[in-house]
Symmetry: C2
Subunit: 342 residues, 2 copies
C-alpha cells in the first residue's frame, strides 16, 4: 500500500489501467493522447477527457474567461496532436456553493468563445457541489478512418520537430494559448508525421512518452530547442524566484557545478533550457517525420503557417534511450517534466 | 450577482446554457438526459457525462468497489432512459496526494466489473490532484437512428410508468443499483414509450423535467407509487432520524397537521411517500406510454422482465401542472427533489 505521493502519477496510471475492459472496436485506448474508436466507414471517432482544478491549473484571481478558455483548449490540444477535428463537448463543473454566478457566466463565455471559433457544440455536462472550482471537459471528434496519428509510430532515423517555443508558459501562455488544431490537421492530411504528442507535461516527459510507445530512443540537440522569452524572464534579477531557478538548474545539470552561481550567460542559458524541458503546459506539438520528407515538410509548412517549426533531433533505435547533446557532446541532464502527486 | 446557494442548480444551469454554441448535427443537447448527435447512417451517437464527489455521493468509509460501481452506473442509468447502448467510457479521477493506491485500485475494480458486464471499453481519462476524491465519467454509446427517447415526447392521455420501487436509496441501493439498460433498450426497440427519464433527483423533480420538456402536465395517484421498504426504515422507532422525518413529512404535507405527530399508520405512509418522491438516487425509469398501448406493454413486460412495473398516473394537457392525488382528491404536497447548492 502506497500513497500517491510515494507512487507518483505515472506508476499509479500503470496500476489502474492494467486490467481495464476493452472492445474490438477500440483502435487506441489508454496511453494515448486521445482514444480512437471505430466510427463510420469514413471516419474514426476520437474521445478525450481533461480537467483543470483551482489552485493547480488556475488561481482564484485568474480572469474567469481565461479559465474557461484553458479548460477547453487543453483538451483540443490533444486532438490537435492526433490530427482530429473536434465536434462536440460536455462540461462537468464542480463548484462551491459560495461561488458567484457572475464568475461562472464569464468562465462559460470564455469556453463558448473558443468552442464557437472551432465550430464545436457544447451538448451537455453536469454540475456538482464540491470544495473547489474544477472543470472537466470531454471532447468527441473525428478523423478520416485510419489516419489518426498516435504516440506509437516513430521510426529510427525520423527527424523530431517541435512547434512554437517552450518554457515559462506559467507567465501567461497557459491561459491564452491557441491549440494547434490547424497545424495538426494539416500534418495529418499530408501524412507527414509518423508520431505526435502535444507538450503538456514538458518536452522531457512528453518525448519520453513517444519513445516508450514507439519503442525507440532519441538524440536531442539542446541548442536547437526553441526557448520562449518567458523562460528567461526573472533570470536577470536576483530574488526568491531566481534562487529557486538556480537550485533547479544546478540540480538538473550536475555538470554545471556549484561554483557556477551567479549571472553568467552559460548559467542563464541552462536555467532557461531547464524551463523549456520541464515546465510543461506549452501545448505545442512534438512530432516525428521520416528524414527523407523533413526538408519538404519545412518548405510546405512555411508556405502554409507562420507558426515556428524547429527540428530538434533524431529518433534512434536505442529503446527508450534519450540522449541530450550540447555542442555534440552529451549534456548531463537528469530532469523530467511535471508529474502529479510528486 | 448571486451565490449558487441563493440561485440553486436549476437556475444556474439555465443561465449557463443560454448561449452555448451548437451545430446542425446535434439532435438533442443540454436539457436532456444524454446528448444525441448524428453518428452513422444507421446509428445516432449518445454522449453523457456525470460526476460523484466524496462527502456528497459517497463517504470516506464507503467500500471503494461500490464507489467505482456507482460512478459508472449513474451515467449508464441516463443512457438506459434514452434506450441507448453504452460502448466506451473515459474516467477523470481527482484525488488527494495522501490517498492510498489500494483504495483506488479497488475502486477501479468496481468500475471495471460493471463496464465488463455491459461490454463497455474504458478507453482513457485523466488523473489530477485535488482536495477530495471525485470521479467524472464520460460515456459514449449509440442507438438506431431516430429511435432515441428523450424527455420531450410525452402526450396528453399517456400513462406514466415507473420501474422498481422508490425512496430510501441512501440506505444502500445508491451504491449497488443495476442501471436499467436492458429494460430501456427493450422499451426503445418496441417503440413503447413517448418520453423517459431516469429518476436521479427524486420522482417529484424528474417528473417535472418531463413535463417541462414535453409542455404537458400530469396527475399522479400517490397511493399507486411503489415505495421501497427502505423508505419505511427507521420510521418505527423514535430518534433523531425519526423526528427529522416527522418534520419533513409535516413540511411537505401541510394537510397532515401538527397534531398528527406520533406513529399513526397514515403518518408513516406519508413520511415514506415523502421519501419516495424526494430522496432521489433511485435510478429507476420513469416513462410515458400511449394509453391504448398501456395494457399490452404490461403484458409484454411481464413476459420479459421480473423488474416491477407500475402505472402511477396520466399525462394531462395542463402545461407543467403537476397534481398529486390521494383517494381521488388533491394531496397538498409542496416538496421537490434534490437540488445542488440549495
Amino acid at each position: 500500500m502506497k500513497t500517491l505521493r510515494q507512487l507518483g502519477e505515472l506508476a499509479l496510471l500503470r496500476q489502474l489501467t492494467r486490467t481495464l475492459p476493452s472492445r474490438p472496436d477500440v483502435l487506441a485506448g489508454t496511453g494515448h493522447d486521445v482514444a480512437v474508436v471505430a466510427g463510420t466507414a469514413q471516419h474514426d471517432l476520437l474521445l478525450k477527457s481533461d480537467a483543470i482544478v483551482q489552485g493547480r491549473h488556475f488561481l482564484a484571481q485568474t480572469p474567469p474567461r481565461q479559465i474557461g478558455h484553458k479548460a477547453l483548449a487543453r483538451a483540443l490540444s490533444d486532438l490537435a496532436a492526433a490530427g482530429g477535428e473536434p465536434l462536440w463537448a460536455l462540461i462537468n463543473l464542480v463548484v462551491p456553493r459560495t461561488e458567484k454566478n457572475t464568475r461562472l457566466l464569464a468562465l462559460y463565455r470564455g469556453l463558448a468563445a473558443l468552442a464557437h471559433h472551432h465550430h464545436i457544440a457544447i451538448v451537455g455536462g453536469d454540475t456538482t457541489e464540491g470544495p473547489t472550482l474544477e472543470l472537466h471537459v470531454f471532447v468527441a471528434g473525428r478523423a478520416p478512418h485510419g489516419t489518426v496519428r498516435l504516440r506509437s509510430g516513430a521510426q529510427p532515423g525520423d527527424t523530431l520537430f517541435v512547434t512554437g517555443a517552450l518554457g515559462g508558459s506559467l507567465r501567461g501562455k497557459h491561459l491564452r494559448f491557441a491549440p494547434r488544431l490547424a497545424e495538426g490537421q494539416w500534418l495529418r492530411a499530408g501524412r507527414w508525421a509518423t508520431a505526435a504528442i502535444d507538450i503538456s507535461d514538458g518536452l522531457a516527459t512528453d518525448l519520453a512518452h513517444i519513445l516508450e510507445m514507439s519503442g525507440v530512443g532519441a538524440e536531442i540537440q539542446t541548442e536547437k530547442i526553441p526557448i520562449a522569452a518567458a523562460a528567461f524572464q526573472g533570470l536577470e534579477k536576483e530574488g526568491s524566484g531566481f534562487s529557486k531557478d538556480w537550485k533547479k538548474g544546478a540540480r538538473l545539470f550536475p555538470g554545471l557545478g556549484k561554483n557556477h552561481a551567479g549571472f553568467s550567460r552559460a548559467w542563464k542559458q541552462h536555467a532557461a533550457l531547464a524551463h523549456a524541458l520541464c515546465d510543461g503546459e506549452d501545448f505545442e506539438l512534438l512530432f516525428t517525420v521520416p528524414q527523407r520528407k523533413a526538408a519538404a515538410l519545412v518548405r510546405a509548412w512555411r508556405r502554409t503557417f507562420r507558426t515556428r517549426l524547429t527540428p530538434i533531433g533524431v529518433i534512434t533505435r536505442h529503446k527508450q534511450k534519450l540522449v541530450w547533446l550540447s555542442g555534440g557532446r552529451p549534456l548531463p541532464f537528469r530532469g523530467t517534466g511535471y508529474e502529479h502527486f510528486r
